[in-house]
Symmetry: C3
Subunit: 366 residues, 3 copies
Amino acid sequence: MKLLLHEIRHNPLLWLLVFVPIAFVAEHLKPEAHTLLFVLSVFAIVPLAALLSHATEAVAAKTGDAAGGLLNATLGNLTELVIALTALKAGQYLLVKASIAGAIVTNTLFMLGASFLLGGLKFHTQEFNRVSARMQAGLLFLATIALLVPSVLIDVDAHAGSDFTQSLSVGLALLLIVAYALGMLFSLKTHRELFASAAHGADDEHGAPWPIGMALATLAGVTVLVALISEIFVESVQKAAEAFGMTPAFVGFIVVALVGGAAEMASAFSGARKNRLDLSVGIALGSASQIALFVAPVLVLLSYVIGPTPMDLQFWPGAVAMMLIATMTAMFVTVGGRSAWFVGVLVLMVYLIFAMTLYLLPPQVT
Amino acid sequence: MKLLLHEIRHNPLLWLLVFVPIAFVAEHLKPEAHTLLFVLSVFAIVPLAALLSHATEAVAAKTGDAAGGLLNATLGNLTELVIALTALKAGQYLLVKASIAGAIVTNTLFMLGASFLLGGLKFHTQEFNRVSARMQAGLLFLATIALLVPSVLIDVDAHAGSDFTQSLSVGLALLLIVAYALGMLFSLKTHRELFASAAHGADDEHGAPWPIGMALATLAGVTVLVALISEIFVESVQKAAEAFGMTPAFVGFIVVALVGGAAEMASAFSGARKNRLDLSVGIALGSASQIALFVAPVLVLLSYVIGPTPMDLQFWPGAVAMMLIATMTAMFVTVGGRSAWFVGVLVLMVYLIFAMTLYLLPPQVT
Amino acid sequence: MKLLLHEIRHNPLLWLLVFVPIAFVAEHLKPEAHTLLFVLSVFAIVPLAALLSHATEAVAAKTGDAAGGLLNATLGNLTELVIALTALKAGQYLLVKASIAGAIVTNTLFMLGASFLLGGLKFHTQEFNRVSARMQAGLLFLATIALLVPSVLIDVDAHAGSDFTQSLSVGLALLLIVAYALGMLFSLKTHRELFASAAHGADDEHGAPWPIGMALATLAGVTVLVALISEIFVESVQKAAEAFGMTPAFVGFIVVALVGGAAEMASAFSGARKNRLDLSVGIALGSASQIALFVAPVLVLLSYVIGPTPMDLQFWPGAVAMMLIATMTAMFVTVGGRSAWFVGVLVLMVYLIFAMTLYLLPPQVT
């Protein structure tokens, strides 16, 4: 507990934890103040996500290399998963899908691009492990293909019907999970030497190591808190978006993705500033491919258990195009293993183009 | 003849030749047993394709380097060409097009991916000639673009009319054949040193060399047999597909392509297991680009002579998307010239996604 | 003036200047002879473009490195800009857009491919600066994405309406100009050493250096002449196209682009024949990305001032597909930094496919 408090005192991001109780109180007192609740829940989720990520890493560090890597890879996007599950339970499938696509696009373009830019402003050129980057980009490419196949085919022919979409979505979800598991076998076991410099890179940001009991307790407790706050967030987000003049597409793609990924972004940017671009690229692309290969299929499969109706993997064509472009951009900029500030600008520009388009998009399109 | 028998005795694949007479007998006795005829014709085509490929290589080995390479490159997909010609004569243009697209996708994804996987299960990492792979991928990319242009434009505007499609298809067919001829000039003549290690790689699979007379006789005789069996195959395939619960798209894309390419696959996989990935990549990409650049345009041009009506190059949009994705995947995985088992898994996953989608696709879509 | 005359005497391309007065006279005498006026204006624009390009380089050489580079980069496509502005003033937005897309496609495919081919016919293999090529290709990729986003989204949903398209186009235009400015900062200032060998490559084609006064006077005078000839060209082009049996799409994409870029092509091809492929690649990709990142957005913004109605960035889907394919082709062939004649053939084939398609396309499609 003392360690936890020490952690909180030395990490300004965690001071935002004060918004967690405020959000709960506000929800009880003013359940109709959607805009306020939205803002409070955003400020509350960010530090919880940071804590969750620390706790996961602490548990991973204790359980040894392979199991730790596995845990880290599985729980690394726990925040995104919990938010999406809450939206899934509420039957808000458009929000779930927008947040999946948005998290992929945001991690691939914003997190990667800002890391290149921030690192490049400090160092003339930076190098990173291109083998590792290429495998992550390869996984992401595979996942994007899997996600776009149903959308492309349905677009082609509206008669295809929902039975087809449904069984195809379940089949694709199972394929993606198998690919994800084999990818972990490859990077954590059979060919771990190729991924050397990116491993365990995040550890030294912490001070003293957390005892395993505290880490596990934090993991459990914070997950529950994230789930509770997510409910406030999901309930208020649409109404708040209208109040801010934002389209639902912009909220799902950009706002949810930035909120859910804030903790990883902090790590990725700090790595880039320390000239450890391996770490940044690993977090950005790893996180994106994890969402595509693990979070998205898990949501499809869980929708049969907890959702009002099954969810399929059919995305809005614009979302598919953005995911594909984001993946191709990532493949293109990581192929050489070198970076400079302008590479970051190029990647961020693509993200800005998407964000601007979504912001201006009339609501009925998505 | 003794050599031919020796070859047959030592190659278990050729024992399947017994199905050739069985198929002919069955067709006379039970012309309505489509499912049976389909299965028999599949089992009969596979060993014939293997013999054809051996005979072509034997003739190529005798006729010297440049002419041999030319011959090998031209007749390497003779089985696919004969099957497609039979379907063309029967006016089954959808089957012809599906088998062209399917052969490109299957060679690029299944043959390449399985080679990477089989080789990677035996060797930690494998290297291959990236210059050669890149040229093959480049040719394939060009061919895919040529094949998709009419489809994309027709999709855009239905008014364009068939006159336009027809003259565009003939023009593209001529362009593709010119590109194919120049590609052979490049790889067999002006820049042959770049393709060194892939050349003549297949030879040492055979025992004693075949005399030229036997090779030519085998080539001629087996081609006739393939043509006759193909007729049984083309007549029975649609009815049999229904009986097996397979969509026509699945049959054309996956079944025909796997049957027609069985012999090349055997060579490619055996090369990968012997750590000669150059050979495998060369066969897979070379075969795919040969179908796109030579078989497809030849079929378009021949359709004016032997088909009931001229055939164009307009494909179903889903087929175009699959060819484009397959080409991009091949370009991405061959750019580095290195491979490990997981690269094979990634490529095979893309193929599985396509196969699953085609299997589940309601029949009216294609 | 003596220098200018010396320049003209030693550069056969400039002898075409005689067509400038002929075109003006013909326009006064026979304003209805569209085909004649079209041919005369084409022959008149080519030498003017060459003079403009020489004058720009002469001014750039005098004003020092950074400012010179900036000037060269900004005025390098002055001919294309003036022609497009003339079409914009006449409200011919389809021609403006076709000439933008056509200039990108022609520079990327024809200029690059012909340079590779011409160089490759003389030298066995050629090398070029891949860092520089990759950045140009990256800029071009970004620009293509920006140009395709509105088209893709509008295609998806026709209800989106022109307000959305309009504000999105202005926003994208501003983003592109910022990216262009940052790209110049990167290549001329912070990371100029990466682009070393391509810089100032064009200089030694000239004999004696031009005095600054003459260069500036030539720049101003020739720009006015180009503007006047462009008016004849824009007025006659559609009618002449009909007379030649060419579709408007073919004229906008191919003819205008080849005419406007003739001067740069002469430099690029001459560089390739001197084994200075850096220069050729730099001109081809630099020119294409300049049109996408500078000329196109400037035209959108200027359409609010000088056009009858604002112009948006929504292109015909086929034009978007061609720009995307051209960019991907450029990225693919420049990734290795090596070239041989067949690479040029591949790239030119893609261009030929496009040209043939546009030539055959029924007029109502675009």
